[in-house]
């Protein structure tokens, strides 16, 4: 086994035709057939025996396109990377070679189209959500799911279907449309379950954001008019929640700023877009001052919050269960004074 040892910092950039990849072809085929034989009996969730996966990790740039490019590269190189992770989250294992995969738009599009065609759009949504996750194993979960699902879908032939003559699946254009969703439905399978859990975690975080985003009205209400919200989600979910807020607050231009991922969702009254502020050093947001009414409404809201609680039913554990403490710093009602909400970045 020709494993290139690299230092932990040396995320080595390798092209798609690397020396290591070619010499590992035989091993990969061997591993694949063994993998196929043991499906169903051996749990992929348990640590795999060392030969099953190549000792290679793929690092990508953390975007969806990057993840899809990494999946493309795995097929193109005939490699079975044991880890696929964003470069900033990847921790190389002992003796593991790290290959940095360049993001390639056209590769990403091909993979996206392939997943949609073979496994349905629901599966693609799951992969998309995994790319937004902060968990280091999210990329691996997505990659293993795609490997499993693409193989599995090939077995779903339409031999017994009465409509096989007119079905696109019969002519080699992909599986029967009715069977596409089956790829993601076997949630107890070790290749599907991690992705299913990540998807569910992301969806929960989206719901938390829909609940706990708090806007402040900034500007003078005339020329300057902005509704600003700051949030600290566990995953980069701003792109997923923007449609929800644009739908209900289409009468007010607003910004949702994710201070963890340095990403701002901006709605200007017509269209919404994302602004990445990650590259800006020591960013200070030149925000206008709050409007005169802002103080009144936040004070009213804090008063309301104080009043509706019933002391006889006091149960802080239950509150923390529903409203975890990590959100409290951006919640108007949880501040001692209305001015305690931070205005500047």
């Amino acid at each position: 086994m020709s494993v290139q040892h690299v230092s932990s910092q040396g995320a080595q950039r390798l092209g798609t035709q690397s020396q290591g990849a070619q010499s590992q072809g035989a091993l990969s085929r061997d591993a694949r057939s063994r993998d196929a034989r043991s499906r169903g009996t051996q749990s992929l969730g348990a640590p795999p025996s060392p030969e099953v996966y190549d000792e290679v990790a793929y690092a990508y740039d953390g975007t969806l396109e990057g993840l899809l490019s990494a999946i493309f590269a795995a097929y193109a190189n005939h490699e079975y990377p044991s880890d696929v992770a964003p470069a900033r989250l990847l921790q190389p294992r002992l003796g593991q070679r790290v290959a940095y995969i360049d993001t390639n738009e056209s590769h990403a599009k091909r993979v996206a189209a392939g997943i949609r065609r073979q496994c349905g759009s629901y599966s693609f949504e799951a992969v998309k959500r995994a790319s937004l996750s902060d968990q280091p194993d999210a990329g691996t979960a997505a990659y293993r799911f795609v490997r499993y699902a693409m193989d599995e879908q090939k077995r779903r032939d339409c031999a017994t279907c009465r409509k096989s003559a007119s079905c696109p699946g019969a002519r080699g254009k992909g599986p029967c449309p009715k069977r596409r969703a089956a790829a993601f439905s076997d949630i107890s399978h070790p290749a599907v379950e991690p992705l299913f859990k990540i998807t569910r975690a992301i969806n929960n975080e989206c719901e938390h954001m829909r609940q706990f985003i708090r806007f402040q009205h900034l500007g003078d209400g005339q020329a300057q008019d902005l509704w600003f919200a700051r949030c600290n989600p566990k995953a980069s979910v701003v792109p997923l929640i923007m449609p929800h807020f644009v739908e209900r607050f289409n009468v007010q231009p607003f910004i949702i700023y994710d201070e963890v991922h340095h990403l701002a969702g901006v709605y200007d009254g017509g269209d919404w877009y994302l602004v990445n502020t990650g590259s800006a050093e020591n960013l200070t947001l030149p925000l206008p001052d709050p409007t005169a009414e802002e103080q009144l409404y936040s004070e009213a809201w804090r008063t309301f919050y104080r009043c509706v609680s019933i002391d006889a039913r006091y149960n802080p554990e239950l509150r923390r269960h529903f409203m975890p403490k990590r959100f409290w710093k951006n919640l108007t009602e949880m501040q001692e004074t209305p001015a305690a909400l931070r205005m500047q970045g």
């Binding site: 169903g40 749990s43 089956a182 439905s185 076997d186 949630i187 107890s188 399978h189 379950e193 719901e207 829909r210 609940q211 706990f212 985003i213 708090r214 806007f215 402040q216 009205h217 509704w227 919200a229 807020f245 644009v246 739908e247 209900r248 607050f249 289409n250 009468v251 007010q252 009414e293 009144l296 409404y297 936040s298 004070e299 009213a300 809201w301 008063t303 309301f304 919050y305 009043c307 509706v308 609680s309 019933i310 002391d311 006889a312 039913r313 006091y314 149960n315 802080p316 554990e317 239950l318 509150r319 269960h321 529903f322 409203m323 919640l331 108007t332 009602e333």
Partner: protein, 532 residues
């Protein structure tokens, strides 16, 4: 008085309304208009007691001409400052909160100022400003005041998403005793009217969708009328202020679900907010009882349970130490074990530890693979509880434990988690073995304590006397009979309950269980529902 001071008083006065849901209607946003709703609802905050805040829950005014004994806003309560919003103030406050994503909409209730019609007119005006002047598309829940005219009720229903009429107390006698201005008929008439209006509205909309309606005029209607309360109606009642049993309460709510198609029946554990000899003076809120009632309510609404399966006349209170579903399972061991790989959804829903979501995940996962213990754990099933009641591809999950009622009861009995800081915080671990068996088992929770029991008994005795004085002895027997098993008796330990089970109904009759005609309940025609 400024708006914040008003809000302080009126939010405080409204906090005993338990219903706080923004669910039941999907309304997409519209360009240029504020707001949208989702059928699932959205909780925007949580109070220190763990209840959700989804709507701006306020009274329009806390001035009230009624004198209901249990209510903080009763006419004779002089300790409360009285105030009222103007419709414009309330609408502005709602919009201001909504735009900051504090709330999902408005929950508007009110004390009765002048007459019910006048009160409803003011509420309708506030909602009209919201819906028409501000074009608000968020959620609105309005309380219908009993005694309001039909026209105003229609106007209210067209502006709001959900309507509710409070049932207040679970029986006619209690209502007459504690809320003399309200009667069975005056509460049920608007409820029935709302039910009929919703049904009419739905039907006419369905016909229009199918193009079954032929318009007489050629001109199309300029603007579609708003749907009448598209998210349905709900109600709430107070638990523990009066001696009605869980059996009575659950049968009442079951018949409300059947005949009135209510979306929800809310239970509110009685809290002593005003002093009255007719009311329990105890500070111990029956939160655990409320919890069990909600569990039973969920079984009826989502798990396909019939009320007769959950509770029967011989055991008129829910078990305090096991939940109603586990209790059903323990009483029907012949139904189990269930094979998870082949059982239908209805059977899976009967297994303790498998909920609606878990059952659906099982159906989805087992299409492609055979489920064993590892798979079930991955799906998020409470395997610890479910294992005694299932087989997985033929192998029984609960090996090593006797498949009998007593053994399984010990496994499934679990205290209700009431937190570590509140009054429900467990002082000792229930069921823990002690060195001294002769020591009497201490009441774990304040609501099960002896002083609480005594306070309830005193109040129920006073209620009985008042009823006897007012109605003559007949009604008094009915209430008195059910009072013999006071709610606190439900909190006694389960072994004595089981002995009672064994002795059967003759024992129940000796103890004066409610067998009077006034309490015998059949589903379609609950006595409280028959408007006389």
């Amino acid at each position: 008085m400024n708006v914040i001071e008003k809000l302080e008083i009126l939010a405080d006065a409204a906090k005993y309304d338990v219903a706080c849901t923004s669910s039941g209607v999907d309304r997409s946003g519209r360009n240029g208009q504020l707001g949208a709703t989702r059928a699932a609802g959205c909780c925007h905050s949580f109070t220190p007691d763990g209840r959700c805040i989804t709507l701006l829950k306020v009274l329009f005014t806390n001035v009230c001409t009624y004198d209901c004994a249990y209510c903080v806003n009763r006419k004779s309560n002089t300790e409360v400052k009285r105030t009222a919003f103007t419709p414009q103030e309330l609408a502005d406050l709602t919009i201001g909160f909504y735009r900051r994503n504090y709330i999902e909409g408005l929950f508007l209730s009110s004390g009765v100022v002048g007459c019910p019609d006048r009160t409803t007119e003011l509420m309708v005006e506030a909602l009209r400003i919201l819906r028409e002047d501000y074009g608000f598309r968020g959620y609105i829940h309005a309380k219908a005041i009993p005694g309001t005219s039909v026209e105003l009720l229609d106007a209210l229903g067209r502006l709001s998403d959900r309507l509710s009429v409070n049932l207040e107390l679970p029986s006619q006698q209690s209502l007459g005793l504690l809320a003399p201005a309200k009667s069975r008929a005056s509460i049920l008439a608007p409820m029935r009217h709302i039910h009929d209006s919703i049904a009419d509205d739905k039907e006419s909309r369905a016909r229009k969708r199918k193009n079954l309606t032929i318009y007489q005029s050629l001109a199309k209607p300029v603007r579609r009328a708003r749907a009448f309360a598209p998210a349905g109606q709900s109600t709430q009642m107070i638990i523990g202020a009066t001696p009605e049993s869980d059996y009575h309460i659950l049968n009442l709510s079951a018949s409300l679900y059947q005949t009135m198609q209510l979306k929800r029946v809310f239970f509110s554990a009685y809290l002593p907010v005003v002093k009255n000899p007719l009311l329990p003076a105890t500070d111990a809120v029956q939160l655990n009882r409320e919890h069990r009632l909600y569990q039973a309510d969920w079984l009826m609404r989502f798990y396909g349970f019939n009320v007769a399966e959950i509770i029967d006349e011989d055991h008129p209170f829910l078990e305090p130490d096991v939940d109603p579903k586990a209790n059903w399972a323990l009483n029907h061991l012949d139904f189990f074990p269930v094979e998870v790989n082949t059982a239908p959804l209805e059977a899976l829903l009967r297994v303790p530890g498998i909920g609606v979501r878990g059952a659906k995940l099982i159906l989805r996962a087992r299409r492609q693979s055979t489920l064993g213990e590892a798979e079930l754990r991955k799906l998020g099933i409470a395997y610890k509880r479910a294992r005694y009641f299932i087989t997985m591809n033929g192998s029984y999950g609960g090996k090593g434990v006797d498949f009998s009622r007593d053994a399984l009861h010990a496994r499934l009995a679990a205290p209700i988690d009431g937190g570590r800081h509140g009054r429900r915080a467990a002082k000792t671990t229930p069921g823990q073995m002690t060195l001294f068996e002769s020591t009497e088992q201490a009441a774990v929770l304040p609501e099960a304590s002896a002083s609480n029991k005594a306070a309830l008994e005193t109040a129920f005795e006073a209620q009985r006397r008042a009823l006897n004085a007012a109605n003559g002895p007949v009604a008094g027997i009915a209430i008195g009979a059910s009072a013999a098993v006071a709610p606190s008796a439900a909190a006694s330990c389960s072994t004595s309950r089981r002995e009672e089970n064994a002795k059967g109904s003759s024992n129940a009759a000796q103890r004066g269980m409610p067998q009077a005609a006034g309490h015998r309940v059949t589903n379609p025609g609950h006595p409280l529902l028959q408007v006389g």
